[in-house]
């Protein structure tokens, strides 16, 4: 098996604008996501982060180009082939996407009941095991509306992990969480990835905290993607739009390091980049 889990080759995706014309979200994009590692896809709002995830999952089709998962093209596949592809993925949605009429236990057990022939006893054992790992025991009979944001995310993660996915996709996993909960969630991701060895793709604007997890960072900007082999590489990029992105998201700490280290960025009296 190759070292690449997911590959985009010349992918273009655009949408109709409300007032006519088309808005290009991804323009001839190429990148690779390495197997068993963590890739963070970062970028401002509306730059196409969630669209990228939906393209990987086959929830949207690209206008042009190829998307390969484990070397197999996924653009345009349907039916059973698409179902088979999706069983390789686990997804944690932005709002966790829990079924609000099902309890925590039923939510986590759903993929096992629907996609496997396991008996109820085995399902209970596996689900309770995962709930224990994610510190959710005692909450299994509650409904999603009775849980906090962080707990909902953990239940979403528990559900996504049931079928032992090869690739986990996280869509803005820490949106709406406080800093303590954010750190806990990231620690949880790192721990479960270490145990299960899945490829992790995190779409986030939670910069720089999410960089602690990243092996590779992809920055989306105006339909283009810039790929950085490490979080450090992005911080020392000479590209003006990357410097601007990092400057706004990482703030003064980064800028002062740039001034001290390289002396290549000038600042005004208020400490803003000029």
């Amino acid at each position: 098996m190759s070292d690449t889990a997911i590959e985009f080759k010349g992918v273009t995706k655009s949408f109709d604008k409300k007032n006519g014309g088309r808005q290009v979200i991804l323009d001839q994009v190429d990148f690779k996501i390495p197997r068993g590692r963590t890739t963070v896809i970062a970028g401002g709002s509306g730059q196409g982060k969630s669209v990228t995830l939906k393209l990987i999952l086959g929830l949207m089709q690209p206008d042009e180009g190829q998307i390969l998962v484990n070397g197999e093209g996924v653009a345009g596949i349907r039916g059973l082939a698409l179902e088979r592809l999706r069983t390789r993925f686990g997804v944690l949605f932005q709002g966790a996407a829990l079924f609000d009429s099902l309890s925590v236990f039923e939510n986590v057990a759903l993929p096992l009941r629907e996609r496997t022939a396991k008996r109820e006893g085995e399902i209970r054992e596996q689900v309770m095991g995962t709930l224990a790992e994610l510190e959710l025991v005692g909450h299994e009979d509650k409904f999603p509306a009775q849980l906090s944001g962080g707990m909902r995310k953990r239940v979403g993660l528990a559900r996504a992990l049931q079928l032992k996915p090869e690739i986990m996709l996280f869509d803005e996993p820490t949106t709406g969480l406080d800093p303590v909960m954010t750190r806990e969630i990231y620690q949880l991701f790192a721990r479960t990835q270490e145990q299960l060895g899945y490829t992790s793709v995190i779409v986030s604007h939670d910069i720089p905290k999410v960089f602690n997890l990243a092996d590779q960072v992809i920055v989306l900007n105006q339909g283009q993607m810039d790929v950085f082999a490490s979080p450090e590489a992005i911080q020392w990029s000479d590209e003006p739009h990357i410097r601007r992105f990092v400057g706004t998201t990482m703030g003064d700490i980064y800028q002062s390091r740039m001034v001290e280290g390289e002396g290549s960025i000038k600042k005004n009296e208020q400490g803003q980049q000029i």
Binding site: L59, L82, R86, V91, F93, G95, F99, D100, E114
Partner: protein, 263 residues
């Protein structure tokens, strides 16, 4: 200005065509879901309870009041011509062939159809349907098909219930209150209602049940794709209203068409 009008007209025409095509595919996928395993019998029973048993009270009262009004109105009209004996026949035929199927479908659209549409719409906007897709669980088999089958089973049964309760209402108003002879009420009904009339009523109720559940589930499922519906909670509320209106109009239009073809 004129260009704008033509562009808007074309865009609307295209979106209507797209919508019709999407709904056609939706119907096929929902019917295919009947044959995909594992079929969710538990969910079928739950939906039959919701659409069928849950609508019992509203159907009962609508039928009783419709039957009683028919009894009174029928008596008033027929009495002028000295044809009181035809009351049973008039009440039964009106209920079995027209009022029963139509009013049952309208009540189910208003009570269960709206709730089902809103439920699916909320599931769509909160990414629950995307989550099913991502877990490789067919949303049609899991969510839509049990609702379809439940409606196809319960709407004809509710219609039969409507007919029975309505005829009883007509009997109470005509015979007990207005003094029409009980024997002539039933004899009129027995001699004029044929198997063909009953079959027409059942076919209608089956078609109306399909229309109501198809439109209500389809609108909710595709809430994010409906042009001009807006976003979020607003889109769900608009599409739910639209689904009830559209299914009610479709029932009335198809009522005429079916009567014209099958009578």
């Amino acid at each position: 200005m004129q260009d704008n009008f033509i562009i808007r007209l074309g865009a609307t025409g295209l979106s209507v065509l797209q919508d019709l095509g999407r709904m056609g595919v939706f119907l096929l996928l929902a019917l295919r879901g009947f044959f995909r395993t594992p079929f969710r019998f538990g969910e079928l029973i739950k939906q039959m309870h919701f659409i069928g048993a849950g609508s019992f009270v509203v159907i009962f009262f609508t039928a009783a009041s419709t039957g009683m009004v028919l009894g009174l109105q029928g008596y008033y009209s027929l009495h002028k011509f000295g044809a009181d004996g035809m009351l049973g026949s008039a009440v039964a035929l009106t209920l079995i062939m027209e009022m029963g199927p139509v009013l049952t479908a309208l009540m189910v659209a208003g009570r269960a159809g709206s709730a089902i549409c809103a439920e699916l719409g909320i599931m769509r906007i909160s990414e629950q349907i995307d989550a099913l897709d991502c877990m490789a669980i067919d949303p049609f088999r899991y969510l839509i098909s049990p609702k379809f089958l439940a409606a196809l089973i319960t709407v004809p049964l509710l219609t039969v219930l409507f007919d029975v309760v309505g005829i009883a209402g007509g009997y109470i108003a005509g015979v007990k209150l207005m003094g029409v002879n009980s024997g002539s009420f039933f004899e009129g009904m027995r001699s004029s209602v044929t198997n063909h009339d009953i079959r027409l009523g059942v076919i209608k109720s089956f078609v109306f049940g399909l229309l109501v559940i198809w439109i209500c589930t389809g609108r909710g499922y595709y809430v994010h794709l409906i042009r001009g519906a807006g976003f979020g909670a607003e889109s769900v509320s608009r599409v739910t209203t639209q689904a009830v209106v559209l299914s009610s109009i479709s029932v009335l239009v198809f009522d005429y068409l079916l009567t014209a073809v099958l009578l």
